[in-house]
């Protein structure tokens, strides 16, 4: 497929996943506030930190009040990672590849975008924020489902999945990182009911609460960390995501698993192998924040490698053919 098209399919998929994760961050914070006693505002700053755009936010908004943060993360068209911006960019990318994706995928993405845009203009979504963010999440699920059910599982589809899984791995790590940071800051709360609620919130952010309970039962920080990083079966766990991303990468390149021809195959293979053989103790000893930070850097490097290998502009090099026989 065309490099430009692969690039667009890749970013379409990443932006849809990103929009969903922003909605998850915000939604779960709302949930928390409903049974929280610790004062509302301290809950909102970490959300901005999660997105990685806190400098921009502090400059333009100042105080991290609920309203400011939600506006910034949801409807702010100048914030490149707001839900509105993500869906707009996902749709712009989809628009350039409409002949590659199925009509149903386009229809769904266009509809989601128009709905969020209408909500941004109407500004009455605060009446039922939960409903709104649930809709954003569901729109993404619907898109993914439609992608799986209506698009041939061909090269373009694998680029979709590769992008989605890398984005999701990155966002799960950020979710974990920020919450861990808050918990450390309030050491008094460790082991308290509030601590449990916080960790429950982390799990809910990743739709992981129920699946976690089935597997680990009691809520414990170690259990949550292990589940969200190392689980091989839960679809938002980092290991699961990166293994799926690796499978798609190899399906695209045709390189046998366990070997590599291109840089991103090497980087992602090493990352998956690290995750397979690391233990929870080693992660904790290294420091969770340091570990996650390192992981995010490596996932970024995989993304950069994918760009270099598959999307980057290359000028043709004329292969000189042997001179034709004269007198033809």
């Amino acid at each position: 497929m065309l490099s430009r098209v692969a690039d667009s399919v890749y970013w379409m998929s990443r932006y849809v996943e990103r929009a969903e994760n922003v909605a998850r961050f915000i939604d779960v914070n709302f949930q928390l506030m409903l049974d929280e006693a610790g004062g509302p505002d301290r809950q909102w700053q970490p959300l901005v930190n999660t997105s990685g755009d806190h400098e921009e936010f502090n400059k333009r908004y100042g105080a991290a009040t609920q309203e400011n943060v939600i506006n910034f993360l949801t409807f702010d068209a100048t914030n490149p990672n707001s839900i509105l911006s993500c869906l707009r960019k996902a749709r712009e990318n989809a628009r350039t590849v409409r002949e590659i994706i199925s009509s149903e995928m386009w229809l769904q993405l266009n509809r989601s975008y128009l709905e969020v845009k209408a909500a941004a203009e109407a500004a009455n979504w605060l009446d039922s924020p939960n409903e709104f963010f649930t809709e954003v999440k569901e729109a993404s699920h619907l898109f993914t489902g439609i992608t799986d059910a209506t698009m041939a599982h061909n090269e373009a589809w694998h680029f979709c999945r590769l992008a989605r899984m890398l984005e999701r791995a990155d966002k799960t790590s950020r979710m974990l990182d920020v919450k861990y940071y808050i918990l450390l800051r309030s050491a008094d709360d460790v082991g308290s009911a509030f601590d449990d609620i916080q960790w429950t919130a982390v799990l809910r952010s990743a739709s992981a609460f129920e699946m976690y309970r089935k597997r680990h039962g009691r809520i414990s920080p170690q259990g949550v960390v292990e589940f969200l990083i190392l689980d091989r079966e839960f679809p938002r766990a980092i290991q699961f995501c990166l293994v799926a991303a690796r499978d798609s990468l190899h399906a695209i390149s045709g390189t046998a698993l366990g070997t590599f021809r291109y840089l991103p195959e090497k980087l992602l293979g090493q990352l998956c192998s690290d995750l397979s053989f690391i233990s929870l103790e080693e992660i904790i000893n290294q420091g969770l924040h340091e570990y996650l930070d390192d992981l995010q850097t490596k996932v970024n490097a995989v993304g950069a490698g994918i760009f270099e290998t598959f999307f980057a502009f290359k000028a043709p090099q004329s292969q000189k053919k042997p001179a034709r026989a004269a007198g033809q």
């Binding site: 065309l2 628009r95 999307f311 292969q319 053919k321």
Partner: protein, 496 residues
Amino acid sequence: MRFHQYEVGNFFDEMFSAEGCPRPAAQALVKTIESLPDGELLARQQAAERALLQMGITFNVYGEDAGVEKIFPFDILPRIVSGCEWNRIETGLKQRIRALNLFIDDIYHQQRILKDGILPKDLIFSAKSYREQCAGLNPPSGIWCHITGTDLVRNSDGEVYVLEDNLRCPSGVSYVLENRQIMKTLFPRLFASSRIRPVSNYPLKLRDMLESLAPEHIKKPRVVLLSPGIYNSAYFEHSFLAQQMGIELVEGRDLAVQDEQVVMRTTKGFERVDVIYRRLDDDFMDPECFRADSVLGVAGLMQVYKAGNVALANAPGTGIADDKVVYAYVPKMIKYYLGEDIILPNVPTYICSEENDLSYVLENLEKLVVKAANESGGYGMLVGPHATRQQCDEFADRIKAAPRNYIAQPTLALSRVPTLTGDHFEGRHVDLRPYILYGKELFVLPGGLTRVALKKGSLVVNSSQGGGSKDTWVLADGAPSESVATQRLEAVLPVV
């Protein structure tokens, strides 16, 4: 909803021969609509508009930061053409395209028509759309204009005239296909019983035609559609057609020339391209051959084309036949190349570079429509009856300064079709653009794009100036003109 207050006025009405008198081909439709409860038709129209927006069938409004996209307004009442009338139109279009193609081929080779004095030499060499780079080109099978979108209008005398030929990159066919899709969901029973000739096979025909242009030794040719990109106002159509044909949509930056082949950049390296359906004007196609400042095209493309290693549709250079002065000579061309009389007449045209015509035009500006020879899309035009004295004077000066660049035509009273305006129907002026494919054979898509001037009294059907579109129903030969079963079933169908 009833037609009893509908006024035909002093125009040719496509649906009614007189007040309360639907034409035979329209009777089933009129009955169906009259049997709908109040408000139902409006509800269906709104459902159609919502569907268009959600499908993203929009055109871009340039220069808007918020990404303003508008749907091309759609009117729910179709324009109906009877089978026998269509047969005549189809024959006339085929005749015209055949002659125009012979003309283009002649102009870039021996120029017999100039030597025989049928067309003045100066006319060709002074045309902005004449491309000297195309002289001597030999497109596959000698076909230059593979895709044409001829504009037809009907005057109050009931005759169908050819208004423009559009042999370069005619657009709009995607609306034909989408409008039909929507109408089928809105009036399924009527379609089931009316024997309306289908249009949905257009993308199949188009792809077959394009594949037939590939160099002969290539077994499975790779066809691509070359678009200027997402900011082009017809981008939706480009991606729609590529999708429906199952071919790649490429931009200039995706293509390159390597070893006398056109190749495209893929995730697996460079791959050869055999046929390019280009939706880019000649000028932008190849900076080495045409405009050097173009970044939309592919450097070296024309060299590959001349070597016969890639096919282009349409061939470069076809614009010469779009010149509005050349248009005036089409009846003579048909006589010259085919030895036939023209079937679909031209609109009478005054050529300002001819002395007698010029003085007539200057004396009668307020009655005439004046057009610049090299413009399209409603630019560089004066509609005499709607112009001020000052505008007429300005145009007179321009004509006198460069008579070669202008033609004039009488103002036509375009035919009308009933159009939904709030809670009732009013007549609105329409034109018709059928699409013709020319490969191994000539194919005319039955129907085409009916554009409608939605503003009351307006004669301008362009989308930028309040124009919309309607579905065009061409009935099969001998189709039943009405069906009683239809109307009963249609009335109870839910809104989609």
